[in-house]
Amino acid sequence: MIRLLQIEFIKLWNNRTSKILIISYFVLLTSIALVAAIKFDIGPVKFHLAEQGIFNFPYIWHFNSFVAAIFKLFLAIVIVSMMANEYSNKTIKQNLIDGLSKKEFILSKFLTVVSFALISTVFVFIVSLVLGLLYSDYNEIAIIFSDLEFILAFFVKLVGFFSFCLFLGILVKRSAFALGFLILWLILEQLVFGLLGWKVMSWETANQIKNFFPLESMSNLIKEPFTRLGAVKTVADQIGEKLSLDYHVQWYEILVVLVWTAVFVYFSYALLKRRDL
């Protein structure tokens, strides 16, 4: 296992583009902390974002894991191209001839993806913990470590999304087209949802079905945290709008994403096995 990871590491780290993208991704993850510095001080209006409660435990787990997930696109580029480049350089053929089995090849890519997700998760956990300790109004241990399921959801979400990228890389074999396909797929999911709700069934059922689509199920894992903010709630109450969204991560939502992950990894392998190189 270590050997497979080392192989991928050599391939990635010696590629300047990948290296720059990976580094920028982690810099961006850390830069969430900069949100704390947002301060408006225009005469009577004093606004300090850090004091609006976004860094309060346990809300911060939700907020940060949601925001951090936006940056995953950077790694998506790295992952799609690390797969597609093996095809365009024909190095996949050489790897197999040199004695890597097809299973090992897919496993080495999947392990890399899991490592990316794991490192990101640890990163987000640490950044959130530090920010929270600095700015949170509540500092009881029990509160700090409550709602940690958002961090788990973040990890599962990344693994799922990156596995999808991996699959697209193998399927399409060209990084630019694979990324295009990713966007196409995103639109397609919304289109199918729209069609279902409009013509076939009620919007409610369509909404439920939508949550089983691959990309939708991933984004549905961590729901938007903004309407949970105290300030937003106050405003909503004032205009008489009731916000009753269940923010929590449900176990079956995690299961759906895990199933998709397994499907993508399996199909990547099946595709590679069937193909003549």
């Binding site: 190095t91 089995s101 003549d276």
Partner: protein, 300 residues
């Protein structure tokens, strides 16, 4: 003799096209083998199948008597297929170290192999800056990293200039002289003749000939003879200047001709010497001509 690779009734179809048809042959340790055939005769496909990158339609193959799985066996094999494939953004040394990781061998031979192919001065240049000849030599170095039991080369001199061709051939000869088994696929008769001791000839995926190179190139044909008076016959054949190499295999005597001779004449001469034959066949081996006409009809 140890069998390194045996291929049994291998068939590969690409849709309606049959690229390899019921092919069988064996590779024994210590020989230099050539797979000869015009472009599109199934050479690369056959190698692709035994190297695990092309799926077979039917038939079997086994490495080292089937004792290990194919991908583990490939760690003891060095192979170059068509074009040298490396990571363009990595240097020669980085690429070779990666191959060492894949083959699970230590990387202390990297410099030694680079020196063997004459690339030591350029070891820290990126692969994409190499000329085709250098790329091909790097591929050979990479294939040799694990001191393989067998080296497989698919058209190693394709697209190279005369100097590059010469360099590659010298390297191959050097490796062969060290006792490494080599399997060389080529459409150049001359190349196979110069380097190989055994040859398998393919046409449209079918095997035309397999055996020793010198057997293939006999142009006057040969007699296959059987008799109960073996000693007397051998004595006669050896004393006759018309015959070159004579082989005896389980009672069947094969006598290669040095000059033209009719079967009737031999039969008559032997009868006069009171040697009676139970089996007399004259065969003509015109594989070389066959091969040349084949390559002529498919020049592009």
């Amino acid at each position: 003799m140890q069998t390194i690779l045996s291929v049994n009734n291998l068939t590969k179809k690409f849709g309606a096209l049959t690229a390899v048809k019921d092919l069988s042959f064996q590779i024994e340790k210590g020989n230099v083998y050539g797979i000869l055939g015009p472009n599109g005769s199934g050479k690369s496909t056959t190698l692709g199948i035994v190297l695990n990158v092309v799926n077979r339609t039917s038939g079997t193959f086994s490495w080292f008597d089937g004792a290990t799985s194919t991908h583990d066996a490939l760690k003891k094999v060095g192979a170059i297929i068509e074009r040298p494939n490396f990571y363009p953004y990595m240097t020669a040394v980085q690429n070779l170290k990666l191959v060492c990781k894949i083959k699970e061998v230590s990387d202390d031979k990297v410099e030694e192999k680079l020196e063997l192919v004459g690339l030591l001065e350029r070891k820290d240049s990126k692969f994409r800056t190499y000329s085709l000849g250098m790329k091909q030599r790097l591929a050979i170095a990479s294939a040799l990293l694990n001191d393989p039991e067998i080296l497989i080369l698919d058209e190693p001199t394709n697209g190279l200039d005369p100097q590059g061709i010469h360099q590659i051939r010298e390297i191959i000869k050097k490796i062969a002289s060290q006792g490494t088994t080599i399997l060389l696929a080529s459409h150049l008769l001359d190349e196979v003749e110069k380097v190989c001791s055994h040859v398998v000839i393919l046409r449209k995926g079918e095997k035309l000939y397999s055996g020793r190179v010198d057997g293939m190139l006999a142009s006057h044909g040969f007699f296959e003879l059987k008799t109960s008076q073996e000693e007397a016959l051998l004595k006669y054949l050896q004393g006759n200047a018309s015959f070159g190499e004579i082989k005896v295999e389980s009672g069947l005597i094969t006598a290669f001709l040095r000059e033209e001779m009719k079967a009737e004449d031999l039969n008559k001469a032997l009868f006069e010497k009171e040697i009676l034959l139970s089996h007399l066949v004259k065969r003509k081996e015109s594989l070389e001509e066959q091969f040349l006409t084949l390559t002529k009809t498919q020049t592009n």
